[in-house]
């Protein structure tokens, strides 16, 4: 009944599998005799889906935790710097319609509510017919850096250090190979290339478990004992991690945990993806994700070192594939005709539970949403971190950890869904895709409640009560005010009490902007220097 956790079996390679195996192996010293044994079984026949070329700044701490050098990572994964996202044509679709969701928090965030003061400035500027400056530009120095195509640091900065907070864009296929090599060579993960053909549990499964048939009390009811492979026999372990992608072999197929769709909230169900080469070797590389609103969805544009990843994600209820191809072709331009278009179905949603018995799902096996705000990899990182940090020492505590994991993950999925939906509901675009998105029946009650509060004040950290938040209140501010939302402070004038301090902070932001613009090299220039010189560790 109370077996110690000595072996973890990860089923499925890909980034989810390797990140989870890596975090476990690094934390629990799998490269030593006494360490946890981590086995990763990967099929040679199932290609990785390879979605997710955008990350969050969390990837920096993930790489550090894995003991990976930033220089090696950037050199081997065609990685570039990402300083947030630029949302173009989301509000009304006109040419100059854009806003930023940068990764640096608003100036003096937590010390004063600059959003309130910015809104007051806006009102005044409007009355005086003066130029109105965007929220993200007035409260944060990162938009200016991105608009100039600059990097978030210089070659003199140490690995992972920065001037402006950053994440990465990466080649997901190369990243998976890079992680695999590091996990095997440095972290002591055992790699088995084989197909899993069966799942062996103490009793048939949790679903049809009946107490009468359970005679072996050394086995927790319904736990997986081993997985059968084609050529390597049965691989046993105390914890099984399902990283089998959309097929969700263990959690979905074996445990039959239902999938909770959210296509009633987020309509996007198809992606058309292409890889676009640069015009020349020294073409600029954008240091942010560019997300451009289209008639039935939006186009992502992610600049790597050697190419851009571009894709149109759309709702097939609002667009035919032929129309979607035409939209993508228009965006990409002349090169489009020579490119190979990959079609990827997107079933938005997640499992109702993520940890069942001694099996936990990570990555696409747990759930997937449209790639807006790059939530896929960050959810993998958060899950991998939680599993490695809270790894149940024995079977006795596993259900306790599983319960917490499930509650946390469910909360995170709900918040992400709310946050993604927020991007759509303030638009004034008139195509059916956009008007349908604004139908209140499609907006989760939790988001509607928040929107009601934000009529009177800006999003604040206390709106989000979990210590496991994915998006900080600042992110909601950037999207809300970027999309032209106006909180009305006439009933909450106290928010404007510290106007002298706020004025000084607007000035401070200008200073930081000027300093950053004079100091930072272009994104391409820094990436070239990293290839030649590399960052030092300190």
């Amino acid at each position: 009944m109370n077996k110690l956790t000595k072996t973890v079996v990860v089923v499925g390679g890909g980034i989810a599998g390797w990140l989870t195996a890596g975090r476990l192996a690094a934390k629990h010293k799998s490269n030593t005799e006494q360490g946890l044994k981590v086995i990763l079984i990967e099929s040679a026949n199932i290609p990785a889906v390879g979605v997710g070329e955008g990350t969050w700044p969390t990837m920096r701490s993930t790489l550090k935790a894995l003991g990976i050098s930033e220089t090696d990572f950037i050199r081997e994964c065609e990685a570039s710097f990402k300083q947030g996202a630029k949302f173009a044509k989301w509000f009304d679709g006109t040419e100059d319609d854009f806003y930023y969701h940068p990764l640096v928090l608003p100036q003096a965030f937590g010390k004063t509510d600059l959003a309130a003061h910015w809104l007051a400035k806006q009102t005044q500027a409007k009355q005086e017919n003066n130029h109105q400056y965007s929220f993200s530009n007035e409260v944060c120095f990162q938009e200016a850096i991105c608009e100039q195509g600059l990097a978030p640091k210089t070659i003199r900065h140490a690995e992972f250090a920065d001037v402006a907070n950053y994440a990465y864009h990466l080649d997901s296929a190369k990243f998976a190979v890079f992680l695999q090599k590091h996990c095997q060579d440095k972290l002591g993960v055992t790699h088995i290339i084989d197909d899993v053909i069966g799942v062996n549990s103490g009793v048939n499964s949790a679903n049809n478990y009946t107490e009468e048939t359970d005679t072996d009390d050394t086995v927790n009811k319904g736990d997986i004992l081993s997985v059968s492979t084609q050529n390597h026999g049965d691989i046993a372990g105390e914890l099984f991690v399902d990283c089998t992608g959309f097929s969700s072999l263990l959690l979905g197929k074996h445990y039959k945990i239902p999938f909770k769709k959210c296509d009633d909230i987020l309509f996007i169900d198809t992606a058309l993806a292409v890889q676009v080469p640069y015009d020349s070797e020294d073409s600029p590389i954008a240091s942010h994700t560019i997300s451009t609103g289209q008639e039935a969805g939006w186009i992502w544009d992610i600049g790597l070192q050697h190419r851009c990843g571009v894709g149109y994600v759309y709702s097939s209820k609002h667009s035919t594939e032929a129309e979607a191809r035409a939209v993508l072709a228009e965006y990409v331009g002349d090169k489009f005709s020579s490119l190979n278009v990959r079609k990827i179905p997107i079933v938005s949603g997640h499992r109702e539970k993520f940890w069942q018995n001694n099996c936990v799902a990570v990555g696409l096996a747990a759930g997937f949403l449209e790639p807006l705000e790059a939530s896929a990899l960050v959810m993998v990182e958060l899950a991998a971190q939680m599993i490695s940090e809270q790894l149940p020492a024995s079977r006795e505590v596993m259900d306790v950890v599983a319960k917490r994991f499930n509650e946390t993950a469910l909360y995170r999925w709900d918040r992400i869904i709310d946050f993604l939906k927020l991007h759509y509901i303030l638009s004034e675009r008139t195509e059916p895709f956009w008007t349908d998105n604004r139908d209140s029946k499609t907006i989760p009650q939790s988001l509607q409640n928040l929107m009601l509060e934000w009529k009177y004040r800006a999003p604040a950290d206390h709106d989000f009560t979990s210590n496991n938040e994915v998006f900080p209140a600042a992110s909601y501010q950037y999207v809300l005010y970027g999309m032209g939302f106006k909180s009305d402070y006439c009933h909450t004038p106290y928010a404007l009490d510290d106007c002298d301090f706020a004025a000084s902070q607007f000035i401070q932001n200008k200073k930081l902007t000027d300093k950053a613009l004079s100091l930072l090299p272009s994104n391409r220039e820094l990436l070239d220097k990293i290839k030649t010189f590399g960052f030092s560790r300190i």
């Binding site: 210089t154 070659i155 003199r156 900065h157 220097k529 030649t532 010189f533 590399g534 960052f535 030092s536 560790r537 300190i538």
Partner: protein, 238 residues
């Protein structure tokens, strides 16, 4: 900006150099690069710090001459007041360039035509009337050779320091006699605790590579920060 011109004994037969004026190149430098072979001489007066090259981010060793950009506390009354004139200043106005960018060792000696040390009459000649190098020019060349060799030695030293993780960020706040404060940023020093904890084999390998003395000289030289503060206080009139 230096304007480099390749030297030959036809075009530059009558070129003369006033080496005393070479010092002017150091007038506004707060950091001057140092090569391993001159560490001991440097450490007599200047703190030796490790910093990063602005363009490449690579570590370099430099002598600290002041606390901010443009401040050389060893420059007073139009003269270098230090006992030892760093090679990087002494070499002025001569440079070597490697136009083919090859490792062949084919270097071309150049001079900086914008240098104040270039004179047309009352300096020292580079060539005799029949085009043979003067003793002065030979010395200048040996100075350049010492710099080139020194750069290689530095590279070896810094690579070892990085590899053995013996570098640490130097954090220092300095308060001058007039209560003015400055924080020293962007400098690195030897982590003496890690150095002390090195295995006998590693210490021995550093010694055999001729790097151990240089490492200790770097450490010792940091005491000269107090000398530098003293100079600054005197300049402030305190």
């Amino acid at each position: 900006m230096a304007q480099l011109v390749a030297i030959d004994n036809k075009n530059h037969l009558h070129l003369t150099v006033d080496s005393a004026k070479a010092e002017l190149h150091g007038a506004g430098l707060h950091l001057v690069p140092a090569v391993m072979s001159e560490f001991t001489n440097m450490a007599v007066q200047y703190p030796l710090v490790i910093t990063k090259h602005a363009d490449t981010g690579q570590f370099v060793v430099a002598a600290m001459l002041g606390f901010e950009q443009g401040e050389n506390l060893f420059w007073r009354d139009g003269q270098w007041q230090g006992l030892y004139l760093p090679l990087q200043i002494r070499r002025q106005p001569f440079f070597v360039s490697n136009p083919e960018q090859k490792d062949s060792g084919d270097f071309v000696i150049c001079f900086d035509s914008e240098s104040p040390a270039i004179t047309s009459n009352d300096g020292q000649a580079l060539f005799s009337d029949n085009g043979v190098d003067t003793e002065f020019f030979q010395q200048a060349k040996s100075c350049l050779a010492q710099l080139l060799a020194g750069e290689l030695a530095n590279k070896q030293l810094l690579e070892q320091l990085e590899k053995m993780e013996l570098l640490q960020v130097m954090k220092m706040e300095v308060t001058f006699a007039n209560q003015q404060c400055t924080t020293l940023n962007g400098f690195y020093t030897i982590d003496t605790e890690k150095l002390a904890a090195l295995s006998a084999e590693k210490i021995s390998s550093l010694h055999k590579a001729g790097l151990l003395q240089a490492i200790y000289t770097l450490i010792t030289s940091l005491g000269q920060i107090h000398h530098l503060i003293d100079l600054k206080n005197k300049q402030l009139g305190c």
